[in-house]
């Protein structure tokens, strides 16, 4: 599998990153080297092996669904780069 300049653009968009034109070539080379290296896993026979999806040994740790205030509205907004009295502010989304 190889990442092309086009697929790099697509992946970068999905990750909400922007690759600077001067970094593109070096980055592609390094990503493709890494992918060629992890491609090694295709040598391993995993027929009939279930994917391991959870590492915890705990099963269904349940608790009461009760409301608690762990952070006040004010605290939640206090570190925002931009906010008003009630909300986080971002540049206009809809024209």
């Amino acid at each position: 599998m190889e990442i092309t300049p086009e697929s790099l653009e697509k992946i970068a968009h999905l990750a909400r990153l922007q690759v600077a034109p001067q970094d593109r070539e070096k980055l592609l080379e390094s990503l493709n080297k890494t992918i060629a290296w992890v491609d090694k896993l295709s040598e391993v026979d995993t027929t009939g092996i279930e994917p391991l999806t959870h590492m915890t040994h705990e099963v269904n740790r349940l608790r009461k669904d009760k409301i608690e205030q762990t952070l006040t509205h004010e605290q939640a907004l206090s570190q925002a780069p931009d906010h008003d009295a009630d909300y986080f502010r971002v540049p206009k989304v809809i024209d």
């Binding site: 599998m1 990442i3 697929s7 790099l8 992946i11 970068a12 999905l14 990750a15 909400r16 990153l17 922007q18 690759v19 600077a20 970094d23 980055l27 390094s30 990503l31 080297k33 890494t34 992918i35 290296w37 992890v38 491609d39 090694k40 896993l41 295709s42 040598e43 391993v44 995993t46 092996i49 279930e50 994917p51 391991l52 999806t53 959870h54 590492m55 915890t56 040994h57 705990e58 740790r61 608790r63 762990t70 952070l71 605290q75 939640a76 570190q79 925002a80 780069p81 931009d82 986080f88 971002v90 540049p91 206009k92 989304v93």
Partner: protein
């Protein structure tokens, strides 16, 4: 300077020091050496001294906690309420923790003092502590060498006697490998033994908080205080915590120890590292242990499995850093999409962006099964084979890392080569088992060599007692 907490307790009980004078001593070393070593990003001088005065009063009144006199540094990924936290990344510029990690709460409840936050690889991604927005950390044994990573600042702070102990995090060896490079004891507990509440997530199914100390006894005490179930982390284990600090003193039974043949015989392992590990093997044999080589044909697949899964998890975990609610926001943004993209591209470092891109790739619809699911299947195989060895043997020995500390800048342009520094440590994270690195001598250039011991799930007590025993024997 005090090597162990036991030494500090003795000095406190003799009245030759106070907790306040101890904190002053540590701060003195920070003032003297942190400029060149770059281990601490920040220390809380006034606050730590105030806490120290209060703890001195508690000691006088006979109601001090078990960690009175323990001065601790936190890797810059562990929350401490009302203190700055930024994962050595520009993306969290100005961020303050609004609560403390569960492990920090438990340390404070026993009167430990938090001295400051420590430099590391950005978001714990790296093996040399060079990928930091604040510049590289230097090894105190030779400032032209790296301290290992990603918990490099935490290791150097203990190595250089700036604090008694540090908390680091270990996702693929990030506590054990710097412990190995800095001549310390580094413990990565069983996955879920310590709560991850208040830890900035890198790869959630791998991340473990761990300890960096001069002695195994100090690690045992810290783990005993911090371990246990937590309502804020449902993956934290409800298995009872045993008194590790007592159990660490027990004489280990002369059981069976395995070493994975390739971890000693492979060409990538430096000859001096090999020699010291084989000496430890001989010591164990002379003490009556059975030590045998075993084969682990999956060894070469462990790192690729690790990188697929951790980059995938990182790409989702780091999606939250978007410039909206906290931290850095690009001043050049014109609409919401450019706000996300510019913020993230300007503030994340190169290696973090590389890993996010890789993770996004392996999770993308067309490649999900070929990479992500495949790696999850191989992960199960690796875990099962590791379990099978631990069904026959009490421990698995190996070098912690194939070499001693390399030079600053030596591997910075070669990520794949850098990844190999973790080749022996990642197995414990892939399988979820506990592991410890202990010092077992120096190479001819005076750089320390680490020996790794992997144990079975939740057998921390047994592993710590064995490690203490072996470390004493290696030192003689």
């Amino acid at each position: 300077m005090y090597r162990s907490f036991a030494d500090i307790r003795t000095a406190l009980s003799h009245g030759s020091i106070t907790v306040a004078s101890l904190v002053q001593q540590y701060l003195g070393v920070v003032a003297q050496r942190n400029g060149e070593l770059n281990a601490f990003l920040e220390t809380y001088n006034e606050e730590a001294l105030q806490q120290a005065y209060q703890i001195d009063q508690k000691i006088a009144a006979g109601r001090a906690g078990r960690l009175a006199g323990m001065v601790i540094g936190l890797k810059d990924v562990i929350c401490y309420q009302n203190h700055r936290l930024q994962a050595a990344s520009r993306i969290l510029n100005g961020f303050h923790s609004q609560f403390s990690a569960t492990v920090v709460e438990r340390l404070l409840a026993e009167d430990a003092i938090i001295l400051g936050r420590q430099n590391c690889d950005e978001f714990a991604m790296g093996s040399s502590s060079e990928n930091s927005a604040f510049g590289a950390v230097r090894n105190a044994a030779d400032i032209n060498r790296v301290p290992g990573g990603s918990s490099g600042g935490s290791a150097v702070a203990v190595q250089a006697h700036m604090c008694t102990a540090s908390l680091g995090t270990d996702t693929g060896g990030s506590v054990r490998q710097p412990a190995s490079f800095c001549g310390l004891v580094g413990v990565k507990p069983t996955y879920g033994r310590l709560s991850r509440h208040g830890l900035l997530a890198y790869a959630s199914s791998f991340d473990c908080i761990g300890t960096l100390t001069h002695t195994v006894e100090d690690a045992a005490l810290l783990l005993e205080v911090m371990a246990g179930a937590d309502n804020f982390d449902s993956t934290a284990s409800t298995q009872p915590v045993t008194p590790y600090s007592k159990q660490v003193q027990e004489q280990p039974k002369c059981g069976k120890v395995a070493y994975i043949r390739e971890t000693i015989e492979s060409e990538g392992v430096s000859s001096e590292v090999k020699e010291h590990i084989l000496q430890a093997v001989e010591i164990l044999q002379s003490e009556g242990f059975t030590v045998e080589a075993v084969d682990f044909p999956l060894l070469e697949y462990i790192l690729p499995t690790y990188y697929i899964l951790t980059t995938a998890e990182a790409s989702t975990n780091l999606a939250r850093y978007d410039g909206v609610r906290y931290g850095y926001r690009s001043p050049r943004a014109t609409d919401l999409e450019s706000l996300y993209k510019l913020t993230r591209s300007e503030a994340f470092g190169k290696e973090v962006q590389r890993r996010i891109l890789l993770g996004t790739f392996v999770l993308s619809a067309s490649y999900y099964d070929a990479y992500f699911t495949k790696a999850q299947r191989v992960r199960r195989l690796i875990m099962d084979k590791t379990k099978a060895i631990l069904a026959d043997y009490d421990f698995i020995l190996s070098p912690t890392s194939p070499t001693t500390a390399f030079r600053v800048g030596e591997l910075s342009d070669n990520p794949l080569q850098m990844y190999l520094a973790d080749i022996f440590s990642v197995q414990a994270n892939v399988a979820g088992i506990p592991a410890i690195s202990i010092p077992c001598g120096n190479d001819t250039e005076g750089m320390s060599i680490g020996l790794q011991i992997m144990g079975n799930f939740f057998e921390e007590a047994k592993m710590l007692a064995f490690a203490r025993f072996l470390m004493e024997k290696c030192a003689n």
